[in-house]
Amino acid sequence: MIRAFGIIGIALLAGCSEKPVDEAAFGIAPENIRSGYEFLTAETQALQNDDFANPGLLWVQTGQGLFQDGGCAACHNDPGTEFRSVASTFPALDPQSGKLINLEGRINLCRTRHQSLPELPYESDDLLALTTFVKSRARGGTIDYQITDALQPHFAAGQNYFYSKRGQFNLSCNQCHDENAGAKMRGDTVSQGHINGFPAYRNDWQTLGSSHRRFEACDIAVRADPPALGSQTYLDLEVYLTARGNGLTSESPAIRR
């Protein structure tokens, strides 16, 4: 019903200056950090705040059912308090394998290691629902994600991705989300590109999706070949962006355009 429109506006930004990668870790001063929520209209904000009408809560409900019926509750007895800091702890390094895992990866590790169950595919409905349920327990908390020495290489790789130009439009993430945040692109206001609301219900998708799906949408929008959801590239980017959003409130399941 609604036609997909091209990306006329983005091309206009392509000539903007590049920021040297080493100059600063983040392109936005901490006092100027603003959640994607603040770039929404009052009506969309109201939808996010409505504890019934927010459609992301459908996934929270499904996830809670899976959590209770799927055996998770055998180890995790008190989901209300246990997961309160989950928005500040992932992505993290799995002590056993040394691999970087995000919350989705942690849920899949629980399944393979403790439940003898197969991994759920990235962006599958069940994995989204479980992730959103667990993340929703951290809703309203302030994100305080520390980059340890062990996480530093992943942070650096994510930062490098954020500042690297790519795609036919030859744009890097920072050109829109650091340098032009707040500017108008057609009818949209460019946000700072934070992920504190994800998994989030996007009206464009008419469904709920992960931060990695959002990264993919940005990569496609600049006409780049996106890496896979759950790939090392996107996990590293998630490390960088989570730290970049320190001080924001965890809003998942948020509503986004």
Binding site: M1, F52, L58, T62
Partner: protein, 107 residues
């Protein structure tokens, strides 16, 4: 089974007009979208919603493709006595999705 969320006030008094809320997980596929291969995605929408108190219809609605995905409805009823509320959606395929909720009314 489809995921359904309901909200029914739990402290209604007889004669009160109360707000009921219902939301169901459904793509409400409009029939106007195309997939990445350029083929039209077939329409599949919910076409009808009904809310009954015991056996009496309180409120109903006809849906068309202009209703958003995961349709939300807030509407009202006059609470008279305790009973069972049935919320029922009918898909164009004929499939029916139902969830009930108890309404407790203080006499």
């Amino acid at each position: 089974m489809r995921n359904i969320r309901l909200s029914v006030p739990d402290n209604a008094k007889s004669g009160d007009v109360i707000e009921l809320k219902a939301m169901i997980r459904h793509d409400m596929e409009s029939g106007y979208r195309v997939n990445i291969q350029g083929q039209t995605i077939a329409r599949n929408i919910l076409t009808f919603f009904e809310c009954r108190f015991d056996d009496n219809v309180i409120f109903s609605a006809d849906f068309h493709p202009g209703v958003s995905a995961n349709p939300l409805l807030k509407f009202h009823m006059r609470a008279q006595k305790s009973g069972t509320l049935t919320f029922e959606w009918t898909e164009q395929t004929g499939q029916i999705f139902t969830k009930t909720a108890a309404l407790a009314v203080l006499e």
